[in-house]
């Protein structure tokens, strides 16, 4: 929990850090110069040996004064981008989790409470989605949606906006949450107090709001840290395959991708965001364990 707060805090401080360094993490800096140990050097260094092929960004200076983790292919400060990228990664994960939980709860409620044909139809659709390997679904959707603008009536998602990965990640995990939610709703639907409420002729929305939802909350809350962790990893995988967050925006996944093209000469660019992901996801998993132990001791949710 503490670690999570720390990570969130650090990423929120990103503008401060960038301001302190006087760098713009979203602007190419191919001709930039930087002072290291009293010497002014180019950020992008042209190879002068042999045939003189290739331009390599400067490596880590390990000095918080600038280019602590070196520069990327655009001559931008990796450390500053890491913080900004973390903001996006956390934002996408949180928003996707919310979307996923809301959708899954609605579907679970509809299927579990209404039963009959609705349940049948929803369950079959979930079956189809469930048998579609998560990454394949995510990749298919991303490739399609990156080239088009979606108009959802209330709001539009333009290609390349952050809302796109949020939307995709939010959707693909719905079946995983909706199934247990539906199961729980079914149990509640046949519990004595709900049967009694139905018998009393209370309106459905009231039963849903007063009797079912509150009892459903533990099941849903258990999913929060798990989904957050999954969403962070999925977002980074999509961005790594260059179908997630679009440049110049950063996320931990896009920085790994930038770093992949520099893996041989500047491994720090790919290592740093990976470590950030591991720390965050690890903290989420620990939190997830704790929440599960507290709310779901019998391990119904997996």
């Amino acid at each position: 929990m503490l670690v999570l707060l720390l990570v969130a805090l650090l990423t929120l401080l990103a503008p401060l850090y960038a301001g302190y360094l006087g760098v713009d993490p979203f602007r190419s800096n191919l001709r930039g110069k930087v002072e290291i140990a009293g010497e002014v050097v180019q950020v992008m260094q042209q190879s002068t040996e042999g045939l003189g092929l290739g331009v390599t960004p400067i490596g880590p200076t390990w000095n918080p004064g600038g280019y602590m983790l070196g520069a990327d292919n655009q001559g931008r400060d990796v450390a500053a981008r890491l913080l900004y990228g973390g903001r996006n990664s956390l934002f996408i994960a949180s928003a996707a989790t919310v979307i996923c939980l809301v959708l899954a709860t609605l579907i679970g409620l509809a299927a579990g409470f209404l039963g009959g044909v609705v349940d049948m139809a929803l369950s079959r659709i979930l079956d189809v989605l469930w048998a579609f390997p998560v990454y394949l679904l995510a990749i298919s959707l991303s490739i399609v949606l990156l080239t088009s603008t979606i108009d959802l009536g209330l709001f539009t998602i333009t290609a390349g906006s952050l809302a796109l990965p949020v939307f995709i990640i939010g959707i693909i995990y719905v079946p995983y949450v909706a199934r247990p939610v539906r199961a729980r709703v079914l149990t509640l639907r046949h519990s004595e107090f709900v049967l009694a409420a139905v018998g009393l002729g209370l309106p459905t929305h009231r039963i849903l709001r007063r009797d079912i939802l509150p009892n459903l909350m533990p099941t849903i809350i258990v999913f929060v840290p798990i989904l957050l962790a999954l969403a962070i990893v999925t977002e980074s995988a999509l961005s790594y395959l260059s179908i997630g967050v679009q440049p110049p925006d950063a996320s931990w996944g896009t920085i790994i991708q930038d770093g992949q093209t520099l893996l041989y000469s500047r491994p720090a660019v790919a290592l740093a965001p990976g470590i950030a992901i591991v720390i965050t996801v690890l903290a989420l998993n620990v939190l997830g364990d704790a929440v599960r132990d507290a709310l779901d001791p019998r391990g119904q949710v997996r």
Binding site: R124, A131, P133, Y135, L136, I139, L241, L271, G274
Partner: protein, 322 residues
């Protein structure tokens, strides 16, 4: 029983049908997905593009196109790729299977052994430093994105430490068929195996530990203890046996998904030309015939593994049979 199996088969067919329709629709919803111009080549005259469109049937109604494609995929089995024209899709998928199977089978051996070790040791030494350490390690394993771990592995074995004694044996990236060289096959796959297995060792180890601990509180274990059986015997003969059922279930599901192409990221990172990588490239190229074939193939394994596990359950546990 027969009815259950039939119902199950119907359900499988429905799910696979649903997925193929979904993929088909996703593909045709993409702007710029019209393959005619891409097939025709750069700077083709509009008339030529029109000819190609007609020849490939892209000017027909969607359901007709879907039907034709399914017919060519399943009945005449001569569906060909849009990108590598003339290349039949089915052999293409079948050619990719050995790499995926080698990767997943090897990783499965590693993760079963690894997680048995982690689970048993942690449960036996419950609440000690060893237990805590193993659990933290497992969590770290779960928390690492597999593609990143793969990159780090590549960095170490291909670049940074390639010339040291530790990694000098590592061959270049890519798959070496088993039929070509046993040693080459093994060397090429060791690092991908480890990379893929780490996540599952973490997950399975933790679950096994939890199940073992739960089993210890059951009556029959208490009885066994009271009888004075050795702790090792109790662990291996009694506790482990009951704890393995959920373990086997999960294994079946995960194995099915992985063989179906869920090892995509590992395959991409290590340049193994398996089903996952084939699917990814087909998706990138919007090569619909290949996408359809690989996705149907993938969902088949997911659904089949699911059904198999259900049937197994029914056999083992009569209560599920209703």
């Amino acid at each position: 029983m027969l009815a259950t199996v039939l119902a199950r088969l119907m359900q499988m067919a429905f799910v696979m049908f649903g997925i193929s329709v979904l993929v088909f629709l996703i593909f045709f919803a993409t702007p710029g997905s019209d393959p005619a111009a891409r097939i025709a080549g750069r700077n083709a005259a509009p008339e030529t593009v029109e000819q190609i469109r007609h020849e490939f049937g892209f000017d027909r109604a969607l359901p007709v196109q879907y039907g034709l494609m399914m017919k060519r995929l399943f009945i005449t089995r001569d569906l060909t790729s849009f990108v590598n024209r003339g290349q039949k899709v089915i052999p293409q998928v079948l050619d990719a299977v050995p790499a995926t199977l080698s990767l997943v089978a090897g990783a499965a051996v590693l993760w079963v052994l690894g997680s048995l070790f982690v689970g048993v040791v942690a449960a036996a030494m419950r609440d000690t430093v060893v237990d805590r350490g193993l659990m933290i390690l497992s969590l770290i394993g779960i928390s690492m994105p597999v593609f990143w771990l793969g990159e780090v592995m590549n960095l170490m074995s291909q670049s940074r430490f390639h010339d040291t004694w530790l990694f000098s044996w590592v061959p270049g990236l890519g798959y070496v068929p088993l039929s070509e060289s046993l040693g080459g096959w093994f060397k090429a796959l060791v690092i991908p195996w480890i990379t893929l297995a780490v996540l599952y060792i973490g997950i399975y180890g933790r679950i096994l530990r939890a199940n073992l601990i739960e089993a210890y509180s059951e009556d029959y274990i208490r009885t066994a203890r009271a009888k004075g059986l050795s702790p090792t015997r109790i662990m291996l003969r009694h506790a482990l046996r009951t704890s393995l059922l959920p373990f086997v279930t999960m294994f079946g599901l995960d194995f099915g998904a992985l063989v179906g192409g869920a090892a995509l990221l590992t395959e991409v990172v290590f340049g193994l030309n398996g089903v996952g990588r084939l699917t990814f490239h087909a998706l990138q190229n919007l090569d619909l015939p290949v996408i359809l074939a690989t996705v149907i193939y993938a969902s088949f394994f997911v659904v089949a593994a699911n059904a198999l596990v259900d049937v197994l359950y029914a056999v083992i546990d009569p209560r599920v049979r209703k």
